[in-house]
Amino acid sequence: MIKETITILNENGLHALPASRFVKLAEKFKSRVELIKDGVKVNGKSIMGILTLACEKGAKVILVCNGEDEKEAFNALRQILEGQD
């Protein structure tokens, strides 16, 4: 399991396009993907889940990937959160 705190750097926060890109990408991996913010944990493969977190730019979230391809998943998803993809 990889678990690390990441600061959202995407200009508009984790909204609209980045959020749906995040979900689409997360679905490609076998690993379980979770996001935790302020003690609330959501499924990273769910747009509704991510939405309930309301991540603005500068927010800190914990990205958790757990499974056989967790390393690849973590690195790819982190780039979306950091707005570098």
């Binding site: 508009n12 909204h15 609209a16 396009l17 749906s20 979900v23 959501v42 499924n43 493969k45 769910s46 747009i47 509704m48 889940g49 939405l51 309930t52 309301a54």
Partner: protein
């Protein structure tokens, strides 16, 4: 047998239809709550899974249909719905709550959907807020599938149907099958609604904005849609039906008689060629244009690209449509008109007191330059096909055309620096549809490659008449001497500046107007595809010298009525039997 009743509405698409009512209704599903025994909870879950699967298939089908008929990528907005349907959080929470609360899936699912819709509605992000409609849409579909209520779709309309509806949502309007649907009668909607646009594209007669009436109609009832008079007749008597059947037969005979004319070359008896082209708004309409013998597309309206989806289409989406269009019409030309809607359609939901005199068309584009450049880039990229011309609407000042050209050249430079190919000699023209542009013709002509007179708006702005207003619509007349004078000035100014001048309003397709316009020296006439054969027949009976005499004389009259009486006499003399064709 209920009594015959005549209903009035907005004639959104012309023609007459007699058919059987097919009621399209969006029924609100009734949700009930019932306890479920523990042993049956698994069955609830599997019912849920099946309903989700069925809904996914439905959404995919609609998406494919939209992509096929409107343009590739335009069904993409349904992706958001599919994503919500498949959302793991929603699905997991439904399953969990079924086991925890031991209640039926319809009840649980409805609760969950409402909860998330509320969350979306509270979001500060506009994109998420707008998705509330989608989540309810998806929710309804799933619930219908759970309850086994068949989701009526316009797709199911049998041959000879007249669709009767309160409203048809955009995603549904695009599914109307012109082979089965002969007419449309709707309680809501106006001339610019999706349904209206689809109806016109497929030449299906339609009356919209009728007001409440569908509770008076049942599936299979006889019904008549008269797009010429703007009426719908429910429970028509047998006399009425035979009258309309007769009229329909006559229209079809005329259409058949005109068919050979499609192939004719568009020229006067003495050999002067006038390009007769088509006004279209859908890619799918190119087939009509070709069938009726159009020499190219004189006006491709791009508004539908903006209305068919939510928000503004990307450069790539637009490029695909323009490129496919150019390829299909080649070697004939295509004139693409840039954004010609009010700014409210894209940028905000504000309301203007006076939208036709407001923030619209080029005025929006010159303020929202990134938005404007996206469209120009897409058009320029498609111009590699070498048959595209670009046209800007609603020009009313000299500065506007200067600024348009500045931006246009900036985009060209940008493409060059990126080594993206385009047609550097692409023709650039403007719509002449404001009196100011018509009067400024001599100053505007040196700035552009062509003028296209938009006679509908030119009439509206010159006579200060909103034709949609029933109380004054009789004042709207494109044969008004003031309008004709402006048309003459525009053509003269264009020719003095060595550019060609076309006309793309309804006037172009009016057989009465053709001798006059040819006499004034018009180079191109662009009209709705079905008007083309008639226009060719009229054109081929004329000689230039005679048309010039006609034009000269026409300009002496004082009223639109005098003009029309005179032209009627002239055309009838030249072309006996024309009145049969002018119905």
């Amino acid at each position: 047998m209920p009594k015959e009743k005549i209903l009035h509405g907005v004639p959104a698409s012309k023609g007459v239809a007699v058919g059987k009512a097919f009621i399209y209704e969006i029924k609100k599903t009734e949700i009930f709550q019932t306890p479920i025994l523990s042993v049956y909870l698994k069955d609830e879950v599997s019912r849920f899974e099946k309903a989700v699967e069925k809904t996914r298939e439905e959404l995919k089908k609609i998406k494919e249909q939209i992509n096929r008929e409107i343009g590739e990528d335009f069904g993409q907005f349904l992706n958001a719905q599919i994503m919500m349907l498949e959302d793991e959080t929603i699905i997991e929470s439904v399953k969990q709550r079924i086991f925890n609360e031991k209640k039926n899936v319809e009840y649980i699912y409805n609760e969950v959907i409402s909860e998330y819709a509320k969350k979306l509605g509270e979001s500060k992000n506009a994109y998420f807020k707008e998705r509330v409609v989608d989540i309810y849409d998806v929710g309804e579909r799933v619930l219908k599938n759970l309850l086994g209520v068949s989701h009526t779709s316009v797709l199911e309309a049998p041959p000879g149907s007249i669709i009767v509806a309160r409203d048809i949502p955009p995603s549904e309007a695009t599914l109307i099958n012109p082979k089965n649907v002969v007419g449309i009668a709707m309680e809501l909607g106006g001339r610019t609604s999706h349904t209206a646009i689809t109806a016109r594209a497929f030449e299906i007669p339609a009356i919209l904005g009728i007001g409440e009436f569908i509770n008076k109609v049942q599936n299979g009832d006889d019904i008549i849609v008269d797009g010429e008079r703007g009426i719908v007749i429910i429970h028509p008597g047998s006399g009425r039906i035979s009258f309309y059947e007769e009229q329909k037969k006559k229209t079809q005979q005329i259409a058949k008689a005109l068919l050979p004319a499609c192939e004719l070359s568009p020229e006067t008896r003495d050999g002067k060629r006038i390009d007769i082209s088509a006004n279209i708004e859908f890619f799918a309409e190119v087939d009509h244009a070709v069938k009726y013998g159009a020499v190219g597309i004189g006006l491709f309206r791009t508004e539908f690209l903006y209305l068919a989806r939510r928000g503004s289409p990307s450069e790539e989406e637009q490029f695909k449509v323009y490129n496919a269009l150019a390829k299909k019409v080649r070697p004939h030309p295509v004139i693409i008109r840039t954004y010609d809607l009010g700014g409210d359609k894209i940028f905000s939901d504000y309301h203007e007191a006076n939208p036709f005199l407001g923030w619209r068309a080029i005025r929006v584009c010159l303020q929202e330059t990134d938005f404007f450049k996206t469209q120009i880039r897409a058009i320029l990229r498609a111009s590699v096909n070498k048959n595209i011309k670009i046209m800007f609407p609603m020009i009313s000042t000299y500065e506007e055309i200067k600024r348009v050209k500045l931006i246009f050249n900036e985009v060209k430079q940008e493409l060059k620096s990126k080594k993206i190919e385009f047609d550097d000699s692409i023709q650039l023209g403007i719509m002449v549809e404001t009196p100011s542009a018509a009067l400024m013709g001599p100053l505007l002509a040196p700035e552009v490659d062509f003028f296209s007179i938009g006679s509908n708006d030119l009439t509206q702005y010159t006579l200060a008449v909103d034709r949609g207003n029933e109380r004054i619509s009789q004042l709207f007349d494109h044969f008004h001497p003031a309008v004709l004078k402006l048309i003459k000035e525009t053509i003269t100014a264009g020719h003095n500046g060595n550019i060609w001048v076309g006309l793309c309003g309804e006037l172009a397709g009016d057989p009465l107007a053709i001798p006059l316009l040819v006499g004034l020296g018009i180079d191109e006439l662009s009209m709705s595809p079905s008007s083309i054969p008639k226009a060719k027949l009229v054109l081929r009976t004329l000689t230039i010298a005679h048309c010039q005499e006609i034009a000269q004389e026409t300009l002496n009259f004082r009223t639109a009525l005098e003009v029309k009486k005179f032209l009627n006499r002239v055309v009838r003399k030249k072309f006996p039997g024309i009145e049969d064709l002018m119905k």
